[in-house]
């Protein structure tokens, strides 16, 4: 569905019409991605009692506008979109860059935020200088680097079961093609803009410390982009952290362990909505 904000944002609703009266789960993707990285998790929750909004962030795939240059601006746009959709209480789930936006969104909408799930997160989320340079100077190389580092090492990136979103799919090449598609559709500035926003985001610890709601960390043991140790400062800053570590997943853990991520989010949403009105 299109959210009536300016710029217009697109949100996938999990295969069911969005109902703002239901408890809502908001999904926020990472850099150079779109809503489709959450296909199984979002579809499952939409068919299990939740309203689902899996957004394309501004300037990504179907959403209009240039990609905002900061995490805070992205959170502003998302907050406007949720208000326009009449979203009441919600859990926000963000992966990688989306996890930082989730923190800022919770800061902007504390009365509505019932829980924050940070998937493959880190703070600070500094992107290595050579990779950042490659996003500008050699974007094809940069996307290959991101793709390789987003998956479990070596052949494991090609043999993960179950494959996502179903049998017969290649997690590795889907991820690369998605990044390439966004580059073609939205331009070559999206990736460096996203990465600069991640690198420059400085308010992670104070924002996490101020959260009044439960915070779930879903981390992949094979994540070389945001290894679990890189989330420790955020975990320590949160008042109510819960940690789920998926043993065989890398940074792209929604596709490498779709059931593990789904279970973690579904259980978290069930719990926080059960204990809050």
């Amino acid at each position: 569905m299109d959210l009536t904000t300016s710029p217009r944002l697109y949100a996938y609703t999990g295969g069911k019409a969005f109902d703002a009266a239901k408890p809502t789960v908001v999904f926020l993707h990472g850099a150079q991605h779109d809503h489709s990285v959450w296909i199984l998790q979002s579809r499952y929750l939409a068919h299990h009692g939740y309203g689902v909004l899996a957004l394309d962030l501004p300037g990504h795939m179907r959403s209009d506008g240039p990609p905002p240059g900061t995490i805070e601006e992205m959170a502003d746009r998302v907050a406007e979109a949720l208000r326009s959709a009449g979203v009441g209480r919600f859990v926000v789930v963000g992966q990688s860059m989306g996890s930082l936006i989730a923190l800022e969104l919770a800061k902007r909408m504390p009365e509505s935020t019932r829980g924050v799930a940070l998937v493959a997160t880190a703070f600070p989320m500094r992107v290595a200088e050579p990779l950042l340079n490659a996003t500008r100077d050699a974007p094809d190389d940069a996307m290959d680097m991101i793709n390789v580092w987003s998956h479990s090492p070596s052949i494991a990136g090609f043999d993960r079961k179950p494959s996502n979103p179903g049998p017969g799919f290649s997690n590795m090449w889907q991820n690369l093609r998605l990044m390439q598609r966004i580059q073609r559709r939205n331009g070559a500035t999206v990736l460096p803009t996203d990465f600069v926003a991640c690198s420059r985001y400085a308010a992670g610890l104070e924002t996490a410390a101020a959260l009044q709601c439960p915070v779930l960390f879903v981390l992949g043991n094979s994540d070389s982009m945001t290894p679990p140790r890189a989330a420790k400062a955020l975990v320590d800053a949160c008042r109510q952290p819960q940690i789920v570590t998926l043993p065989h997943a890398g940074h792209a853990l929604m596709s490498e362990d779709p059931d593990g991520v789904r279970k973690a989010i579904a259980e978290f949403a069930r719990r926080v909505f059960a204990t809050t009105s």
Binding site: A128, P165, P167, F169, M172, R181, P258
Partner: protein, 431 residues
């Protein structure tokens, strides 16, 4: 900061299959089962509704078949693959996923006879028309596109004259018109060419051929490069509009890069049912493991046989893009640097009777209707694979009554050359 994906040889052995978590089996187990036990009612509903990944019924997916699919996708650099009962089933699945009655295809005229039959006769009966064109004539590709065209289609190496499809140029034409390019890559396999790297959008194989390599199983596989933007094209409502046959699912909403595969599996395999059996997948996987080794040997042997035939007095011409005399030699050097495969045709001098004597005199080459086997094969296209094709179309495709097609196998090349030499000698006596 260079990164590297696992190499082709490694993927051919490992992609799609970790060791079996239950038994530790290193080989791919044959999951000979029609269906799969659900954990509970919620699990069942979630699998049916595409909320979870897994298997429901082996017409739709099967763990052994999925290994084959995911390995082929890995090798071709596709977002996924669907294994089918045959190469013909893969071609049919691609077409019916994209279009229905009233649609139109522009296809190379240099096609396998079975593909020509499907497009020229059978699909026409169902309201899908095809214009066949000279694949080397790029203007003809453009001129033949109509408002209702939905697909451009050719073979990486045309049958039987081995026209090399100029994939980058034809793909540009297709994309300029908002259309995808489908290629049959059976003769080249991903070892010799990965068509997605050159602009193709969909690839299929008759896996019966080089992919299996042993000639013991019939199978096909359809791979999606994930490169074509179906939404931007606006010509493919089967992928971008709600589908009543799956609760109003809009496949492009579900997957940005793989709506084609979702629809092909959720509708095409479900309803047409031309799936691959796990036993067939197992056979094909045995072959796929050694694809890089075999293809290199196929190509090496083919070069030696081509060299021998090219200089033989009883041979009028040899159509092999590796030869400077072939019209697509320069293109082949660009698109097929590892070699031009191991299936090619040559024209004998003399009468049709001489051709018959030649085929019947061969001892190592087997006379049969197949290609891509580990064993060397021979056939006379005009009287077999292309016997339904009208004479004028045969001529246009470069097939004469004297055309002989060889599929060069993995035998000692000296034995192959000796066999050809003695058969040519006998044929010459017939004149």
């Amino acid at each position: 900061m260079p990164v590297r994906y696992p190499g082709f040889d490694t993927l051919a052995l490992h992609a799609g299959q970790p060791p079996d978590p239950t038994t530790g089996s290193r080989a791919v187990p044959i999951y000979a089962t029609a269906s799969y036990v659900f954990d509970d009612s919620d699990h069942a509903a979630a699998l049916f509704n595409m909320e979870r990944s897994g298997h429901v019924y082996s017409r739709i997916s099967n763990p052994t078949v999925a290994v084959f699919e995911e390995r082929m996708a890995a090798l071709e650099k596709g977002v996924g693959a669907i294994a089918t009962a045959s190469g013909q089933a893969a071609l049919h699945l691609a077409i019916v996923t994209l279009m229905g009655a009233g649609a139109h295809i522009v296809a190379s005229r240099s096609l396998y006879g079975g593909s020509h039959n499907l497009l020229g006769y059978t699909l026409a009966r169902f309201g899908i028309d095809t214009t066949f064109i000279d694949p080397r004539d790029l203007d003809s590709w453009k001129r033949s596109i109509r408002p209702n065209t939905r697909l451009l289609f050719g073979e990486t190496l045309g049958n039987p004259g081995l026209d090399v499809l100029d994939i980058p140029a034809v793909a540009d034409i297709a994309h300029d018109h908002g259309l995808p390019l489908l290629v049959d890559s059976t003769f080249t396999t991903p070892y010799l060419m990965t068509p997605f790297d050159h602009g193709a959008d969909l690839v299929y194989h008759s896996a019966t051929k080089f992919i299996g390599g042993h000639g013991v199983a019939i199978g096909g596989v359809l791979i999606d490069g994930g490169t074509f933007d179906w939404m931007a094209s606006g010509r493919f409502p089967t992928l971008t509009e709600p589908y009543a046959g799956f609760h109003g699912m809009n496949f492009a909403d579900e997957s940005t890069v793989a709506p084609f595969l979702l629809r092909a599996r959720r509708e095409g395999l479900r309803d047409f049912g031309a799936c691959m059996s796990p036993h067939t997948a197992f056979f094909l996987l045995q072959g796929l493991e050694t694809l890089p080794l075999r293809m290199q040997r196929h190509v090496d042997n083919a070069r030696k046989v081509v060299e021998f035939l090219s200089s033989h007095a009883a041979v009028e011409s040899v159509a092999y893009p590796g030869l400077p005399s072939h019209p697509d030699h320069a293109l082949a050097q660009r698109l097929l640097p590892r070699g031009c495969g191991a299936v090619f045709s040559f024209n004998m001098k003399g009468s049709r009777a001489a051709g018959r004597t030649f085929v019947e005199s061969l001892q190592v080459f087997s006379h049969l209707a197949n290609v891509g086997d580990a064993k060397s094969l021979v056939i006379h296209p005009a009287s077999t694979t292309h016997f339904r094709v009208p004479d004028e179309q045969l001529e246009a495709a470069g097939i004469t009554q004297g055309t002989i097609r060889l599929s060069v196998g993995l035998e000692d090349p000296a034995d192959l050359i000796d066999d050809l030499a003695q058969a040519l000698k006998r044929a010459q006596k017939v004149g």
